[in-house]
Symmetry: C2
Subunit: 412 residues, 2 copies
């Protein structure tokens, strides 16, 4: 099968339009139930409501003596109040009830005995044998937390769309939540394309490593990547592996073979498949302009470039936003990590209609562009992030103050 | 064994002093070798140098025709140069050599044939049968990358102390680096303390969940946590489990049982062990003031508070910095995530000598303190981060502009 150049040609769309089509081409994934301890890092599919009060009963906030504030009304240095103190209550124990004239030792977080309405910290009393002496009146409610003082039954404690953080676990457990409904993880099938590639370097081939980069980035954004067999530069083989991937995954990603070279077969191969819907064929980002997207059998297929910087840009600007959108997260993964003045001009007239991404280092407050064609990996590895030259702007001039952006999950 | 109050008393040290002692009490861990694909997220123990040039030979940056620029010297629209073009070279293939008057098709990244010094992109030539026609001269070096144009053999490509990022993998692989020397992961033994706790809730006990919070936070900062058996409120049992942990881990962390309550045995138990060196007993942070640290048998033992907010503060301000220091990372995990004006006063005279940590939400640009004693988990779960009231400052006033900090790995 030979595929002609006309089946591959680019019709670059504006980045914002490409992103819109990418996001519209996917749906919010269904929810699944996970145990509390497996929920960290997952996205909540619904509001979580406390199923009980926290704390369930009045508790002591300190190690001290549970008392009735009425008993302490007249206490002063000259007329201390003496209370009998021979009992104690620890966390989880049934506290019984307090008699008039009694103080009961309570550990931090222990339930207060019936009849007690305040706690005096151990440091604030003098203990003598089975008695404690108070030299000041105690206000009702001192050092106690009422039932529901942290959260009350039925209250929304975490909202839908939130990523469960480690520090949420205790609140959830205390609120009686031991299972959570979260978005299912998107399954993304990665297909490296190129006859020169091998996962194992057998036969002197080149080690395929890009799937590992994309896979780790996806994992950090809540998706699960699966590595498909490598597709050689052969349309029938590409087709076969894409078909298999469509059976197994929610999103299919090809890496390489995307452009218009003689052995770049991916776009034309997809185009020849049944149930093919083009979403965009190229976009006005540079590097990354060959990034393309289609739907096949209703599933999104993202074509990432083979050139390294182009692949990274396609990952940051198209693939990660799309996958995040499937689990209800804000698509944009860029954040401002620094601001400073450019050390030299970036941009140029040639791709003025494109948004240009320039990898940069921040050195003593100056933003220094790292040059090198899209092939080069060192500018990315050496960078602290990147600067965008907006569409329509020819140049950003040396000395201009710019934001340095970085993609969450890649630059840490 | 009964332990007296005098063995537990706090001598709060300044936070900066406590941190200094914590960092000085640990050493940089040794290096270990890991395979390239297992290196993501690990900290490099030494500079990584390329073991070969990338690319290894002159390559084409586009799909096009490799030519000798001399052959195109006189080309113009009126006097086009015709070159014979019947051969092609793809990635990884031996390119042979170029004859005078010849153009050889080269795929992107393919090696250039001997004698070729430039490439003309496919879009820039007219092909007619076995010939291509050029209508302009081509400069030497056009669309090619010389050997070592990305990195050259011997060049430092990633520096010691850096965390390997997903996007570094391709540069490393291409540079011939398939194994890396990284810092060994610190092993941190977690000992939840409390007779009321159970990992499984057997016998109606309270589900122990804090080890999971600390464990996940540690994992996100490059350490490996192991959950030890839960220690009941019994000095001999605490001692036994600490001894076991000292055999297995680099750092020991107890959670709970840290304060001066009757059943708070941890500090006094450690103090009674041989080879005990106190580092600090309490520090001027609030919440978190009971956080303590010792060395036993030369190993650091960190005592985190049982109260939730106190535990979180101890984690952020002491444990994570210490563990990061062991692998050569910047200890501080705080970063500024927002800036805004306080909606109300925070602070107060009572703990003026302490650094006070107040969990806050950012609502329409205002920084809103989330109240609730250290017991409460909801203020942390609902927060976007926290504000610090510095030592010696009584109050931060409503309307004052403050930085909202968050700990990397907890607030995402």
């Amino acid at each position: 099968m030979e595929l002609g150049l006309r089946d591959k040609l680019f019709r670059y769309v504006a980045y914002e339009e490409a992103l819109r089509r990418a996001l519209e081409s996917v749906r919010l994934l269904e929810a699944e139930e996970v145990p509390l301890l497996g929920s960290v890092g997952r996205v909540l599919a619904e509001d979580v409501r406390a199923s009980r009060d926290v704390p369930p009963r009045l508790i002591s906030l300190v190690d001290g003596y549970a008392i009735s504030s009425e008993d302490t009304a007249g206490a002063s240095a000259s007329t201390p109040v003496r209370l009998r103190a021979s009992r104690s209550v620890y966390i989880g124990e049934e506290p019984g009830s307090l008699s008039r004239g009694e103080a009961i030792y309570v550990a931090t977080d222990a339930y207060l005995p019936e009849g007690a309405d305040a706690v005096v910290p151990v440091e604030a009393v003098r203990q003598e044998g089975d008695f404690v002496e108070l030299r000041a009146p105690v206000s009702p409610g001192s050092y106690v937390l009422p039932a529901g003082g942290d959260v009350s039954a039925g209250q929304v404690i975490l909202e839908a769309g939130r990523i469960v953080a480690p520090q949420d676990l205790e609140l959830l457990a205390e609120s009686g939540i031991l299972k959570l409904r979260v978005r299912r993880k998107p399954i993304v099938a990665l297909i490296p394309v190129g006859s020169e590639l091998s996962y194992t370097r057998e036969g002197g081939k080149k080690l395929e490593i890009r799937h590992a980069i994309v896979s780790e980035a996806l994992r950090r954004h809540g998706a699960k990547a699966i590595a498909m067999p490598i597709a050689p530069d052969d349309p029938s083989k590409i087709r076969e592996i894409v078909q298999k991937a469509l059976d197994e995954a929610d999103v299919i990603v090809t890496i390489g073979g995307t452009s218009v070279g003689r052995r770049d077969y991916v776009w034309a191969t997809l185009k020849a498949m049944s149930e093919f819907e083009p979403m965009f064929r190229g976009l006005r980002l540079k590097p990354g302009r060959v990034t393309s997207m289609a739907r096949v059998r209703g599933k999104p297929v993202v074509l990432l470039a083979g050139h390294f910087q182009s692949m990274i840009v396609g990952l940051i600007y198209v693939l990660l936003p799309m996958v995040r959108h499937m689990i209800g997260l804000e698509p944009d993964v860029r954040r401002v990590v620094a601001r400073g003045r450019l050390s030299e001009d970036v941009g140029g007239s040639k791709f003025k209609k494109f948004r240009r991404i320039v990898f940069v280092r921040v050195e003593e407050g100056r933003v220094v562009p790292l040059r090198g064609p899209s092939f080069c990996r060192a500018p990315v590895a050496r960078s602290h992030g990147f600067v965008e030259v907006p569409e329509g702007v020819e140049l950003l001039r040396a000395g201009e103050e710019v934001n340095v952006l970085a993609a969450y999950g890649l630059w840490g």
